[in-house]
């Protein structure tokens, strides 16, 4: 990923796609609810959210398959509300791929080019170029049902890229692939996006996929964007409990701010334990401390007296995932804290096992304080 690519933090940058206070209702349900969003040229943008959050509707509003009830959709500064789908310079890769079963692979890729009435030679040159791009040389004569799932996915990608759209829309493009192929494809997609210099908007419910491919992620819930930021910010600086819980694993500790100053606050939780967290927030605020499992240290011996935010408990449950191990630790008051440890060394036995007594500790800047 290119360093320093951050047009969203440049106030002079003009967005390529702008959703302006847009709403779309189906019956009583607002699929998209007064939403505003900018996507910039050359950006790989991900819409992430649970099913039914409105992410696909947003994509379809941009493709022209849905008409907004309110608000405007701007492409390169022009309102495209009145533009039918077949005139919009955006192309979509469908979740089902939607390959034409009666056409060959080459026929599918050429379909969009034929609509533009390009010369025969130009079409066949572009088809060959696209086949090479998705590494399907020699497959032009096959029919879609003679291909594997992964190959069909690439034909769909080639077809949607053939017209060099201003924006490529990808609706759950990898949902039908197995995990290994999905990971490979994610990197190929990033590579393609960078090489072709196009703007990609991807819809996905898979947070790892969104984190892998995207420059920025918009986390959606109930038709609204709850946070739009680069993946690291979403993960490390979630703006709300909902985002923190939706993206990755998290421990949430409810508490009240006792002391505040010098960029650090002291927080007391419900059972009276105190924590030091790096934050600026007024004394007396009711807050949540959000703490990722991998930011907690697990010690088999009592924590040194100067260890910050030390807690004592017993291993309640554990899971070995290969690269990391997840421990659920039952604290003295009965609450459960999740901590994970990277398995750096090869070991025959686990250093920490079920029912072991452990001490937990985490640094003040490891956690985030959330007001809501």
């Amino acid at each position: 990923m290119r360093r320093g690519f951050a047009p969203w933090s440049d106030p002079t940058a003009a967005p390529l796609v702008r959703f302006e206070n847009i709403s779309k209702r189906f019956g009583d349900i607002a699929a998209v609810d007064r939403l505003s969003l900018d996507v910039y040229r050359n950006e790989f943008f991900a819409l992430l959210g649970p099913s039914g959050c409105g992410k696909t509707t947003l994509l379809r509003l941009l493709a022209g398959f849905e008409m907004p009830d309110e608000g405007r959709v701007l492409l390169d500064g022009c309102d495209i509300a009145a533009m039918p789908p077949h005139r919009r310079p955006v192309n979509m890769m469908f979740q089902s791929y939607a390959l034409f079963p009666h056409l060959s692979v080459a026929g599918n890729i050429a379909f969009g080019l034929r609509q533009d009435r390009l010369a025969r030679a130009a079409i066949s040159a572009r088809v060959d170029e696209m086949l090479a791009l998705v590494k399907l040389e020699g497959f032009g004569g096959r029919r879609p049902d003679q291909l594997s799932g992964g190959q069909r996915q690439r034909v769909a990608l080639a077809r949607s890229l053939a017209k060099r759209p201003q924006v490529l829309l990808l609706d759950e493009p990898m949902a039908a692939l197995d995990k290994k192929l999905r990971e490979e494809t994610q990197f190929e997609l990033m590579d393609l996006q960078a090489r072709l210099g196009l703007t990609f908007v991807i819809v996905t419910h898979d947070q790892e996929e969104a984190m892998t491919v995207a420059h920025r992620i918009a986390v959606m819930n109930k038709g609204r964007i709850v946070q739009a930021a680069p993946p690291a910010d979403i993960y490390e600086q979630p703006r709300s409990r909902w985002v923190a819980e939706f993206v990755g694993d998290i421990n949430l500790i409810e508490g009240v701010v006792l002391e505040s100053g010098a960029g650090e606050v002291v927080i007391r939780d419900k059972v009276g334990r105190r924590y030091r967290v790096a934050a600026n927030i007024a004394v007396g605020s009711q807050i949540f401390v959000a703490l990722r499992p991998e930011k907690i240290r697990i010690l088999a011996a009592p924590a040194p007296p100067d260890a910050p935010n030390a807690m004592h408990g017993r291993i309640w449950d554990m899971g070995y995932l290969g690269g990391v191990s997840i421990y659920k630790v039952r604290l003295d008051d009965g609450s459960i804290v999740k901590a994970s440890v990277a398995n750096i060394a090869r070991r025959t036995g686990q250093a920490i096992g079920a029912d072991d007594e452990v001490w937990l500790s985490w640094l003040p800047d490891a956690a985030v304080v959330l007001a809501s």
Binding site: A63, G64, F65, P84, P85, H86, R87, V90, N91, M92, F94, S96, A98, L99, F100, P101, H102, F111, G112, Q115, D116, R142, R143, D145, Q146, L147, S148, R159, S160, K163
Partner: protein, 311 residues
Amino acid sequence: MARRPLRTDRGSALSLGAKLIVAVPYLWLIGFFLVPFVIVIKISLSETAIAQPPYAPVLDIAGGWQGIRDFLGGLSFANYITIADDDLYVLSYLKSLKVAAVSTVMLLLCGLPLAYAMARAPRAARPLLVTLVVLPFWTSFLIRVYAWINILQRDGLLNQALLWVGLIDQPTTWLATDTAVYIGLVYSYLPFMVLPLYASLEKLDETLLEAAADLGCPRWKAFFVVTIPLALPGLGAGALLCFIPIVGEFVVPDLLGGSDAAMIGQTLWTEFFANRDWPVASAVAVVLVGLLMMPIAVYQHLQTREIAGRR
């Protein structure tokens, strides 16, 4: 890579029970199609006789070997030569093929929009629409054709309606014309065109039309480059289901048509019942079956190619 499943030899893999089940349709076809057809072929090779049955020779098993030889010696292709020589039959065949072809095209033109509208109707309304298409079958076919006589006759409903609207100022002759035959045929066979078309249009994935639009294809054009090609199997089935029986149709041309040029079904009827010439009538029938095999063979060939292409 398209992988072909390894197949075991089907014949040896089937159990006795499975063989019996497979045998049922074959036995049915042998008993109720092949055997009668062979009898018809045999009659077509005989000559008329004022006797019971009205043709000769008749196989006399009691005559032994000599009887069989006499029987075979008595058979000839004379009736086929008669059919080929006499304009009456040739014109009759041509008329039938023409009527069937024209009405199949008209059925396509009427059936396609109807089936398309049904396939696009709200999901909840579709079973009702299918029922409405099938509903005419609840009344006897013959009665429905008689009803058309009423509608098409000189003081019938059609002329009354046209006079009332002012499109004509003199009652027009509809009955006993080719127009009446076409009206009757299109009316009678419409369900056979609509249902297979509907079945294939209803399966059509809506996303394919969205994909076409997304790639720059306007909706009206997508109908021709996506919808129609994908509906071709239904279109072919509907066309055959109409074309084949219309070639041999008897009731509609007989009741609604004129007396100028008979369709082959009428010619056949005349030979059998009016002229009592079973051998010529049988020859007419055999030639008709031969003619109808051709479109079926073409369709089968296309289907096989389609299936082979999908593998």
